[in-house]
Symmetry: D2
Subunit: 333 residues, 4 copies
């Protein structure tokens, strides 16, 4: 039997999830939910499903076995509560919420209802990232000593986005934080982060930074470095390097094609990088959905949990606090 | 309106085409044809379509607007004739036939009936190959001077396959020959080829070779080199290099993932190559189908024609003749 | 006229300097100084020069225009004072001393006497490092935003070496610190460093670390990351990455040869890295000497000064303090 | 005792050899020979040795134990005869001569006199080339199946040079031919070559080509491909690929530095290639001299012989004949 799914939200990420559901084995798209029906209409028509205007309306349909929440962050916790109480499985875009108290409320409801829940840390499902983590787990680098994550966006977002983002660490570094914890298999004992505003002065005017470096000292002593920038003119720069007693494993960037060009201006230059997360992590969204559908069908917990999301948020908040105080912070989980 | 397609044959390639049709926009799978119905059953059930036992049976169905022929080579010409006379569009696996006279018969029927016809030179549709050709066309290497194609299989085929293959040049080099003509935009004035049996003595016992090098001197003087091997222990090695007055463009091999490993045994070694043509050229099969469907819908000729197939076969035959005589051959088209 | 040089010390680095002097244009080797004459004899015989047993003896010879000091760190300041008061130019191995007060005494004498002085920060003279810095200076990365330095030794030193090294930051990170200040052209406002003992427990037993990460926030807001390990089984890993508003420049590791190997165990793996600093930075020692000789001949200050050495030591001490207190430190210069 | 060497000729190559002799362990430069003394004067002064105006004058000096011949090709055989009869060891630039009969005369004299003789096939001594050949010899590619050599000059020579060059194959391809025989350890049974004039019409007007491809089928069946161009706008392109039953070994091009640049116009483009043979093969000239000096000192035959030169010339002539007749040629050695 295939899992019927309603997608809540029809923005950039909603479109990806809805199309992936329509293509996925073992799942089918049942409805698109958007309080502003007109916004969801093109997507719903493309996929041949109805638009519903509320969670309640979506959940009335017994064909809806699961919900993917891609609405604005501020609505996540309320929707999780509503969907969980209706007994449906949930995949939710990160972050759960920007406030730990509200995250805790969602976690309480999820624990109470016991519905399957997956947080969409899609980068874990990128084939290169997953291969690096498998290599680390399989001992290919021996004992892990250091992990470095580089994550730089091609261009800064509009300032309106920055304003409601929860700050650079909670908005962007959180992806790297989750990967750091997932790859090392542990949590940080101490966090230090610092940031500068070197890309867009308007970001600095909001009290936020656009260029950041963090160090996480994990409980075992493994050291993690994360560097982020809101602008890399050569494209979306996404690299991870795991280093240990037995060697090193690195993920390389991905290009639009595998063609090398040589001319009077240089030898063997590669094609441009895949533009941004929609292109670079295209496969990972589909693979994350596949994991969610499998988990729901098999009645098991998906591999990226609300606990992971809570931990990442606490660490991101510790980074933010470290940046503002200039001191290292010991996060409490 | 979507194009209804019947896939003739349900072997390795038939499975690919049938699944791609099932996924493609603008097309839908109508039936699978196999005289041995049992062989086609699993595929037909997977896709929810009926098995038919003959071309005639398939063509009775008015929902079939086009046919993809993936049956054994010896059946291609007769099937083309039958389908063309029934007025349906055709995509046919290469080669059309191993004998020029039979190819000419198919071409006469196709000309007479005027049905859209596409030869499945799928490698043209590989994104890297297509990007290289576009770069050459756009003048990125200036005037083209030399083209080199490396095409090495991971492991030799069973000897039974070799026996009915038409020889190494007509079976395998023909792909590189087609790409050479397509990328340079011209035909060879002179062809030299030589081969050795260095991989499997059983191949030599059949009078065939498993290690081959060819040079095509095109009409304009552009020089083309092709090298082929039936065995590359490091995987399916597929590279093209275009060189000219303004520079060079090269396609790189594709790996299972973009992870680099460094250890006591070496620095930055890449992951294994994509295993063989099903994996390496996966995208190209889907893109070739897309071109066929678009051409049929738009009522235009597809971009890889029976003429291209005939030319490639003549050149492959000239290579074979050059190998056996030890002399260069001037092919006549 | 060529500059006559006496090399003080005949250990690993003394041998390099003495041989380089013997080969250098514009300089000639005059004597080797070692209180234990027997230790210096083989080198002196190889180069055909006398051994002298003290600085005094070396400086009696009017043919000695300059001295290169490669004796143990604890002797540097006294020797600098003696040589400077004798009016000879000095090139001195880093560090000047492990105590700032003694560094200040050396600086006072150097200022008083005005003799040309160069600190042997040889890595600045590595062609790749120099090319990266030139690219940054020339604006090839636009405004610099982030700088990352990876410096990992192939294997940990004997514990006796660690004991007298002054700690990991003053012994090893100091090279990266100097490069960071030299490439960015500025000093850090704030320094954070942390370390773990993951390589050799004996190092931890000394209170030192063997795996370290540092962040330097420069006065302009540019962020610098340094990571160090006492052990990289794949070899001496030396990479720098400069990132800015206009792009990125990276130095790549250097291999024993430029040969790529592909086999059943992987595709295109590179040869081993150049083993350690004597091999990797071979050219840089000769180029540093060239700069020193040129500066002495032209009567100008060499490009790596005692001030640079003092700054780097202060920053290394700040890293050490940050590691032990777990807090960021604002160094005072 | 060090070997006293007189360098005959003071052109581009003469300068390299003379300077290398001056720097080499175990050898010293004694004189520079040039009938036009004025041309040799700057080099002689730089090295502090006299100019002599004739071979006779050079050979009068008993301090001359060996001669390096870097005069125009047409003078090689006469000089070899003169020097050999004077009992001195000889290193001679390639080719020995453009006519086989004259090569045979030189060989007869060398056999008669028994003086040590080395032909300056310097590329064999390039560290990358030597590593590739060692890997092949050590069985790293299993049984060798195919060898490909790419050799493209940055820019065409003046037409006056082309006129006296002996043709593209004898002038340039001969280097690749020698490497092919040296790496495979055998001679070709059959040779096919073709060429076009695509770079400079003036070269075609001389009956020569500037773009060439050759295939050598070795006696064992191993296939060799060589491609040459007189112009590669991205620089001196020198690559070799050895492929066999156990894998592949490739030499990579060499760059001015190991710096990668990424910007809005592309990711990770490498620095320009080393400009031409003086830069690219700088090390190989010194290493070839080292081999010559060692062989003379040890009284053994150097590793690149007159026989190797004769074989390469015969093969180059066979390529030329194949190009002009359009037919494969079976060379006779």
């Amino acid at each position: 039997m295939s899992i019927g799914i309603s997608v809540f939200g029809s923005g950039r990420i909603g479109v990806i999830h809805a199309r992936n559901v329509a293509r996925a084995a073992g799942a089918r798209i049942v409805s698109i939910m958007n309080p502003n029906r007109a916004l969801a209409k093109p997507l719903a028509e493309e996929l041949g499903v109805p638009v519903v205007a509320s969670a309640q309306e979506a959940l009335c349909d017994p064909a809806v076995h699961a919900v993917i929440i891609c609405t604005p962050t501020s609505t996540h916790v309320d929707l999780i509560e509503q969907v969980a109480r209706a007994g449906r499985a949930i995949m939710c875009e990160k972050p759960l919420d920007l406030a730990i108290e509200r995250v805790d409320r969602a976690m309480a409801v999820l624990e109470e209802t016991g519905v399957p829940f997956m947080l969409s840390f899609n980068r874990r499902f990128d084939p290169g990232v997953a291969a690096l983590r498998s290599a680390v787990e399989a001992g290919e680098v021996g004992d892990l000593n250091m992990l470095s994550l580089t994550s730089r966006d091609p261009a800064p977002p509009p300032i309106a986005y920055v304003r409601q983002s929860g700050g650079y660490f909670a908005d962007s570094t959180i992806h790297d934080i989750d990967l750091a914890c997932w790859i090392t298999g542990e949590l940080p004992a101490e966090v230090y982060a610092t940031g500068s505003c070197l890309v867009d002065p308007a970001i600095g005017a909001e009290g936020d930074c656009d260029t950041a470096m963090s160090i996480l000292k994990m409980l075992s002593g493994v050291l993690v470095h994360i560097n982020n920038s809101r602008r890399a003119v050569y494209g979306f720069d996404q690299r991870i390097e795991a280093f240990g007693s037995g060697g090193m494993v690195q993920t390389a960037n991905q290009h639009n094609d595998n063609v090398l060009r040589s001319g009077a201006d240089g030898f063997a230059r590669q094609s441009p990088l895949k533009h941004f997360f929609l292109e670079r992590y295209e496969a990972s969204f589909a693979l994350a959905l596949k994991e969610f559908v499998s988990a729901v069908r098999e009645g098991r917990a998906p591999s990226a949990t609300q606990r992971d999301g809570r931990n990442a948020l606490i660490i991101a908040r510790a980074c933010e606090k470290s940046r503002s105080t200039g001191q290292a912070v010991r996060p409490r989980f």
